[in-house]
């Protein structure tokens, strides 16, 4: 096993003004050295267990020698879920569909969100049965939340908003303006709000009554007004 004997000093432009004082540096050097491992082997035995100390050293023999020469991983190629698990993690993580309420594809217990909170989150994002298209992110049958994606031309982040929260085009556009003007400085007159309806057609928002709009909107996009 490789023992780090000291710190690599950080490069100046990486840290402005952060420095380990010398005291710290010495301590670390000592810790990383062989001396520390000898100390460690000894501290397995406290004052009460002198007998144990002997048997421990007997059992492990040249403990510190083994540290340097033995490979870190102890297992010998036996089939082991843990090994593959780590490599797969990156892959499984990126295939996660944001609607996926199941955890089969995800790392168990990560991110560390409490079960209770996850339940609430899942309740708020229950996908409707039978809906193949995932643009309309989630809809709750009790009418509690309907999440719809909103994209703005020229902005990287696609946002999701709960359309049930608004009761008029005005309140919707007011909120969208506030949200998106942070990302992109613009004059609100330069943009129009468009949406895709159930049939897949892109229309300008505002023509149909609000309630009808809420029922049919699949996703929205804020585009530049060329008209």
């Amino acid at each position: 096993m490789e023992l780090q004997l000291g710190l690599v000093l950080p490069t100046p432009n990486m840290l402005k003004g952060f420095d380990l004082n010398n005291h710290g540096l010495d301590q670390l050097k000592e810790m990383g050295g062989l001396a520390a491992w000898n100390k460690a082997a000894g501290c397995f035995a406290d004052k009460d267990c002198v007998k144990s100390k002997r048997s421990f050293e007997q059992a492990f023999g040249n403990f510190t020698e083994e540290c340097r020469t033995k490979p870190l991983l102890l297992w010998s190629g036996q089939p082991n879920e843990e090994e593959d698990h780590k490599d797969q993690k990156k892959a499984t993580f990126s295939t996660t569909d944001e609607n996926d309420a199941e955890e089969d594809d995800q790392v168990v217990g990560w991110p560390p969100v409490k079960t209770w909170r996850k339940k609430i989150f899942q309740q708020q994002q229950q996908p409707r049965v039978g809906r193949a298209e995932n643009n309309r992110v989630a809809e709750n049958e009790n009418g509690r939340s309907i999440y719809v994606k909103v994209k703005m031309e020229g902005v990287a982040i696609t946002r999701k908003i709960d359309i049930k929260v608004y009761h008029s085009y005005q309140s919707l556009t007011n909120s969208l303006i506030t949200m998106f003007t942070k990302d992109k400085k613009c004059n609100e007159d330069d943009y129009i709000l468009t949406y895709q309806d159930k049939e897949g057609d892109w229309l300008i928002a505002g023509d149909i009554p609000w309630q009808n709009f809420v029922r049919s909107v699949q996703r929205m996009e804020i585009v530049k007004n060329w008209g």
């Binding site: 870190l72 036996q78 698990h85 217990g109 409490k114 079960t115 049930k164 929260v165 949200m179």
Partner: protein, 586 residues
Amino acid sequence: MHKKMAFSFPDEVLEHVFSFIQSDKDRNAVSMVCKSWYEIERWCRRKVFVGNCYAVSPRMVIRRFPEFRSIELKGKPHFADFNLVPDGWGGYVFPWIAEMAGAYPWLEEIRLKRMVVTDESLELIAKSFKNFKVLVLSSCEGFSTDGLAAIAASCKNLKELDLRDCEVDDLSAHWLSHFPETYTSLVSLNISCLGSDEASFSALERLVRRCTNLKTLRLNRAVPLDKIANILRHAPQLVEFGTGTYTADVRPDVYSDLAGVLSSCKELKSLSGFWDVIPDYLPAIYPVCSKLTSLNLSYATIQSPDLIKLVSHCPNLQRLLVLDYIEDSGLEVLASSCKDLQELRVFPSDPFGAEPNVSLTEQGLVAVSLGCPKLQSVLYFCRRMSNEALVTIARSRPNFTRFRLCIIEPKTADYLTLEPLDVGFGAIVQYCKDLRRLSLSGLLTDRVFEYIGTYAKKLEMLSVAFAGDSDLGLHHVLSGCESLRKLEIRDCPFGDKALLANAAKLETMRSLWISSCAVSFAACKLLGQKMPRLNVEVIDERGPPDSRPENCPVDKLYIYRSIAGPRFDMPPFVWTMDEDSGLRLS
């Protein structure tokens, strides 16, 4: 016979002096001064705290402290919150209740965290303790509303019933009606975790009306917005209030009713709930915002503009829990409006999404750290971080006592330099000298553990995931962190060497959880054999660990110190490594 010293006091005087000493640490210190102080102290200790219910047996506690009135017990390891501990692992409270019920009937307070509580236990509590006053169940499970009905019916002096984050089998909302009409002593009621849709509003209203000392009321989601006004009308003295669902068709009469009732609650300091919020009803709480010190919006799926408006009305805020919808811009407003902020928790609205859905980055945390001089506790979920930001945070806010950062994608590097975040977290532990709790995330090498071992001398709890390169990392922590009590590790390349080399350290800690790492079964057995005062428990749902070669790593390992010996209530997937497990190294 104790020495007669010039200043030896009669026992009663000492007892009186000790009655001013409340903290467990101090009490423990007092009891170690001499035998007579030990004796006096143990007879007058009224509050007992057991951080790990398996560290000691109920009988031992009762034998030493014959007259305690209040007990706090903790069961499952913290990672149980994230589904890492399989069901049936343990943490049953019943044996404790049974022993205490037999020992003495004057127990007044029971506080439990992460324990399995059955209806039978609740019924036994209701039956056995005539002066029972306080029941706090935090992240507990295993009981139903029937058990609650038993408590309601029998505990005439009940002051506090607090169910936070519990999993309750909601059989019937009518358990509330079991509080007799003569019952008026309720001071605190938290039923926010109950799910039942058919809530018994009239029983709730009547209860609130007759309990004039009620200070804390946290409702559950089932209570609709238009019912809140009726409930609050009878409780203008409330200090802490949690709404139910905060959505309804927008109606001016409901709004003005709500706003009116809320503004008459002059003592209100804490608000929570806010499930399914619609922004239209938020201004109803503006009148009380200036006095608010605590605000829990972590279930409120409202966007940044509305959150900003709300937060700007709360200049005295000390504690804020919120979803990442607040975004960096909202946190900047928080930093400039709430100079008394001490605790901030930002939860992810879309933890499993691959793409960010909100504009919340390290900038928000930097803004709050720079702007809020009293900030000491942070839990922050985000998707990117830099060493530069962490160093800035550390230097500007050295008073952090709890720092928990979760970068959602494991092993995420510094987004500016693509380096590991070792130096950033190193700065946190170097500058924040009083840091007691730390959670790491992002790309981290053994170096971060060197920093932690060197600087984090007051650190009591450390959570590590997907970090480190070798056993050296674990060794740094175990050998360097003098105050370490709880260590939990998952998915790190830590193995036998560091664990065995620091075995003695484990007896100075409450517990160590290590899962999906590289600790072999052989090492577990050795540890169990050599350390009789540690319970070394292997948790493995794949089957008995000895059905695989000994140098195979175990799935999960939970090690804790105990004077009660190995436990006997283990499920089939938990094996305890005790002195008899034998030493067979391959």
